[in-house]
């Protein structure tokens, strides 16, 4: 046994003070009695004459000296150091993701993990150093390497749990860089193990120690949410949601749909263990509104029982078709829902008034700034090399892409086409053996679909897939859809919004009513708001405009709160949850507890003596 603060033994000098207290006279109650003769004899018989004997027989004094000794011993902070090897650097990673809010541990997994981490701080030997990292949606260094325990404790106390997913890769990457070339260094991860893929660290011999928290997996959560126009009735909105049951029992609950805080529909759910229940709600809305889905079940994790989404009313898609004349294309565009089509033969301005532009075989003098469907045109800004291919056969197409939904390329023949090497910003949708024939992707903030061949030089317009593809393209290129997507961000991810006019300041009201002010740089063309740690509805006010956006967890990995016994780093490396406890088990708490018991016993003894 060693002592962390041996100087505290100086407090033993207080023992004589206790003795002095016993030399002081007590305040006594005066009582008149018939005679003191019997009392004198009583005292003579029960008390001894030697003062030393008197002191030794006083149990109260002995109790107090024991109490004082215990206090001095506690202050000296004895500990047993033999339990673990000393490490020179310890990197503590505290998981602050949503799953750590689970209440299967008391009061929560996060608090338990923090308490466990604090014990490790207590057990830090004098020369050892510790780093505190927080792994939530973002990785944050809460405390750089230090051996100062007070600073480490403060750093851990300042950590808070978020509603976001775990981005453990970044945290481990940072911890790895910290422990690199440090002998005996350790990384202590305090988590429930609900983390995404860590295969990057396979075979890296990471000195990782996994401290698992959590006991149960009693959770039902909303794992997906989307809102679209009802395909069967354009005036209605369809809300798609997935509710997953991660517990080991069937769960009966109710799913409520709220429109701007007003209850619209309640639906009873019975979800078997481990199953996911897809749900579709239909609702009408008169204005842009927020739909909120709420599960009434009481489970261990509340963060995923509610999810909100902004639903914008569909607006006409302003489309400019630049063509020398293509009735099939024009017809296909007009057939797509909600399209307001304008046809021109050339472009002289960037066409900022239109939602997107269709270039049909015409290289415009001024290229559009917005989204583009380019057919049989060459733009070297998009891809530097174009080749001419005669009669390219179609060998493959990416059926999973939203643009090719229900649109197959069977029996499509093409007379000739441009071939382009697939650039980094795009993916190839339709391939010939020589080169991709259709590309799609985002170049900066511009969405581009490039079709290498003239559709009139093929039999594609005669196939049913052509109007379907055009309808998909209208949907994909419509910036309002992209904007709608922007208004739903996952917890911990940044909310981004393009700035139309120069504003000096923006205000964001958080779900808990807190207001954050954001100064805006006059040259900035995008607003980024990163404090999306809590799920709920956020209100952004810029000048007179107010934008509502929603922050949701919607993460099946986080909602599955089953504590993992091991962490998998790729196929070969597994880190089992440790059973190791903190080092340097300090004894002062036990001693102080014993002191308290002695104090209580002394109190009881005194009152028994004098009562």
């Amino acid at each position: 046994m060693n002592f962390l603060a041996p100087a505290a033994f100086a407090f033993a000098a207080a023992i004589p003070v206790v003795v002095v207290f016993y030399l002081l006279k007590r305040k006594r109650v005066v009582r008149l009695v018939s005679s003191t003769l019997l009392w004198q004899q009583f005292l003579a018989e029960t008390q001894a004459s030697s003062p030393f004997q008197k002191l030794r027989k006083n149990w109260l004094l002995i109790l107090q000296i024991i109490l004082l000794l215990l206090a001095v011993l506690a202050l000296a902070r004895p500990y047993f150091a033999a339990r673990t090897l000393p490490a020179q650097l310890r990197v503590v990673i505290l998981d602050t993701s949503a799953s750590m809010q689970a209440t299967d541990e008391t009061p929560s997994r996060f608090e338990k993990a923090r308490a466990e981490a604090l014990k490790w701080v207590d057990g830090l030997a004098n020369n050892d150093q510790m780093v505190v990292l927080v792994a939530g949606a973002n990785t944050e260094v809460k405390q750089s390497a230090t051996s100062e325990k007070a600073a480490l404790r403060r750093a851990l106390q300042a950590c808070a749990c978020s509603d976001g997913p775990t981005r453990l890769v970044a945290a481990l990457r940072m911890a790895e860089s910290l422990v690199r070339d440090q002998r005996g260094a350790e990384i202590h991860l305090f988590s429930d193990g609900a983390v995404p893929d860590l295969s990057e660290f396979d075979n890296k011999a990471l000195p990782l120690i996994f401290h698992r928290v959590g006991k149960d997996s009693n959770n039902v959560g909303i794992t997906a949410l989307d809102v679209r126009a009802n395909p069967e009735d354009a005036h209605q909105r369809a809300i798609y949601a997935s509710v997953a049951n991660f517990s080991s029992n069937n769960v009966q609950t109710e799913l409520e749909l709220h429109l701007d805080g007003r209850l619209v529909e309640t639906r009873p759910l019975n979800i078997p263990a481990g199953e996911t229940s897809p749900q579709v709600f239909l609702a009408s809305q008169a204005n842009d509104a927020v739909f909120t889905l709420r599960l009434t079940v009481k489970d261990d994790l509340a963060a995923d029982n509610e999810a909100s989404i902004v639903s914008l009313l569909p607006k006409p898609v302003k489309t400019l078709l630049v063509t020398k004349g293509n009735r099939l294309l024009e017809k296909a565009l007009r057939a797509a829902s909600n399209v307001q089509l304008a046809v021109a033969s050339d472009m002289t301005d960037p066409a900022t008034d239109f939602d997107f532009v269709v270039l049909d075989g015409i290289s415009p003098s001024v290229w559009p700034k917005g989204n583009v469907l380019a057919i049989h045109v060459v733009n070297t800004n998009w891809t530097p090399e174009f080749t001419q291919i005669d009669g390219p056969p179609i060998v493959d197409w990416r059926a999973a892409h939203p643009l090719l939904r229900y649109a197959g390329f069977d029996n499509v023949q093409i007379a000739e086409s441009f071939g382009a090497k697939c650039p980094s910003w795009a993916v190839s949708l339709v391939d010939s053996p020589q080169a991709p024939l259709i590309l799609a992707g985002d170049l900066g903030r511009q969405r581009i679909i490039w079709i290498g061949f003239d559709v009139l030089e093929s039999n594609w317009p005669l196939r049913v897939s052509f109007p379907i593809f055009v309808a998909n393209a209208v949907e994909w290129l419509n910036p309002a859809n992209a904007k709608g997507g922007q208004l739903l961000v996952k917890a911990g991810e940044a909310f981004r919004m393009g700035l139309g006019r120069a504003e000096k300041e923006a205000q964001v009201t958080l779900p808990d009513g807190q207001v954050k002010k954001l100064p805006i740089d006059s040259t900035a063309n995008e607003l980024v708001f990163g404090e999306t740690y809590k799920q709920g509805i956020y209100h952004l006010r810029m000048g007179t405009n107010e934008t509502v956006f929603c922050v949701d967890l919607l993460d099946a990995v986080e909602s599955n709160i089953k504590p993992r016994d091991e962490l998998r780093l790729g196929d070969y490396t597994r880190i089992a949850a440790t059973t190791r406890q903190r080092t340097n088990m300090e004894l002062w708490r036990s001693i102080a507890g014993a002191g308290l018991l002695v104090l209580l016993f002394e109190w009881w003894y005194y009152h028994r003596r004098t009562a």
Binding site: S34, S35, T36, L37, W39, Q41, L43, E45, R609
Partner: protein, 309 residues
């Protein structure tokens, strides 16, 4: 004959008793006790030779017929038994619930009444002497002094009521000096008789010299020690400064329930010392708490010990 000290029923039962004296009465006054003196009674004692001037009525004529010599028949003279009751009326006797003093007075009254019924002379010696309390009405003091004087010698059953009233007029107060009172009582007595000492015996000076003086004078002694329930099992706990009611001396003591047994052992030791002292000197000893029933003491304990019968 009802009394404030004793109930009529108790008095009626006490009338059946007579004090039993182991020794012959030495009093000079006539009474109902056998004595060594010769006189007139029905109990034959002895013969003696006739001398000139003797009363012819006591000649034994049948003996003269056989022996032709004159003998006189002698009879035992019956004398009274002087009963001296030493009653402790010190301040310490005024403690306890019920008061030790009240209990002691009742015992004295009962003893006195039995003695008076047996035509014995009763003296009650209340000690210490009455003190002049400045707060006290002078008439009360005068009444007490008169009562004390009247109690020095009482005789005859007729005097019983007056005897009770005088006892009731006594007050407790002052510091007891047991030895002094007993010694003086022994010296003052013209004839030894029965001495009953009723006290708590809580005198720092002890009790041995006083009792020895009575024995030396030839008294037959009964000792009745009266203690209060509070003295047997105190109810004051904590850090105490105890003040002696008689001497004013203080004693600091820390007392709790867990020390009760040790205290009671001390009391037992004290009582046992007194009991042993009495036993070795042929003294009847009784220890009573002031809360026991009077009948228990009078009708059972005293009778069993053959104080009366």
């Amino acid at each position: 004959m009802p009394s404030s000290l004793l109930s009529a029923e108790l008095l009626r039962r006490l009338e059946q008793f007579q004090l039993l004296a182991a020794r012959r009465a030495k009093s000079s006054a006539k009474g109902e006790r056998r004595s060594r003196a010769r006189g007139q009674s029905v109990e034959f004692a002895d013969y003696r030779t006739y001398v000139h001037g003797d009363d012819f009525r006591y000649l034994d004529w049948s003996l003269y017929g056989r022996l032709e010599r004159l003998f006189l028949k002698l009879y035992e003279e019956e004398r009274e038994l002087p009963v001296r009751i030493f009653l402790d009326v010190s301040e310490s006797m005024s403690f306890g619930t019920p008061r030790k003093f009240d209990f002691a007075r009742q015992v004295a009254a009962a003893l006195g009444y039995v003695a008076l019924c047996g035509f014995d002379r009763v003296s009650v010696i209340a000690f210490p002497a009455a003190s002049g309390d400045p707060n006290l009405d002078s008439t009360v003091l005068a009444r007490e002094l008169a009562a004390r004087a009247a109690l020095r010698s009482v005789r005859g059953r007729k005097s019983a009521m007056q005897f009770f009233e005088n006892l009731a007029a006594l007050r407790a107060g002052g510091a007891a000096n047991l030895n002094d009172a007993l010694r003086r009582g022994a010296l003052e007595a013209r004839q030894a008789g029965l001495a009953v000492v009723i006290s708590d015996f809580l005198d720092p000076a002890g009790y041995e010299p006083g009792l020895n003086a009575l024995i030396g004078r030839g008294f037959q002694i009964d000792v009745i020690q009266v203690l209060s329930p509070e003295e047997l099992a105190p109810t004051n706990f904590g850090d105490l400064r105890l003040v002696d009611s008689e001497t004013g001396a203080t004693q600091e003591v820390t007392f709790g329930r867990h020390r009760m047994r040790a205290y009671q052992q001390t009391v037992q030791n004290f009582v046992q010392r007194l009991r042993e002292h009495c036993r070795t000197r042929g003294i009847n000893f009784f220890n009573v708490s002031s809360d026991v029933s009077l009948e228990q003491l009078l009708l059972k304990q005293l009778r069993k010990a053959q104080v009366w019968g």
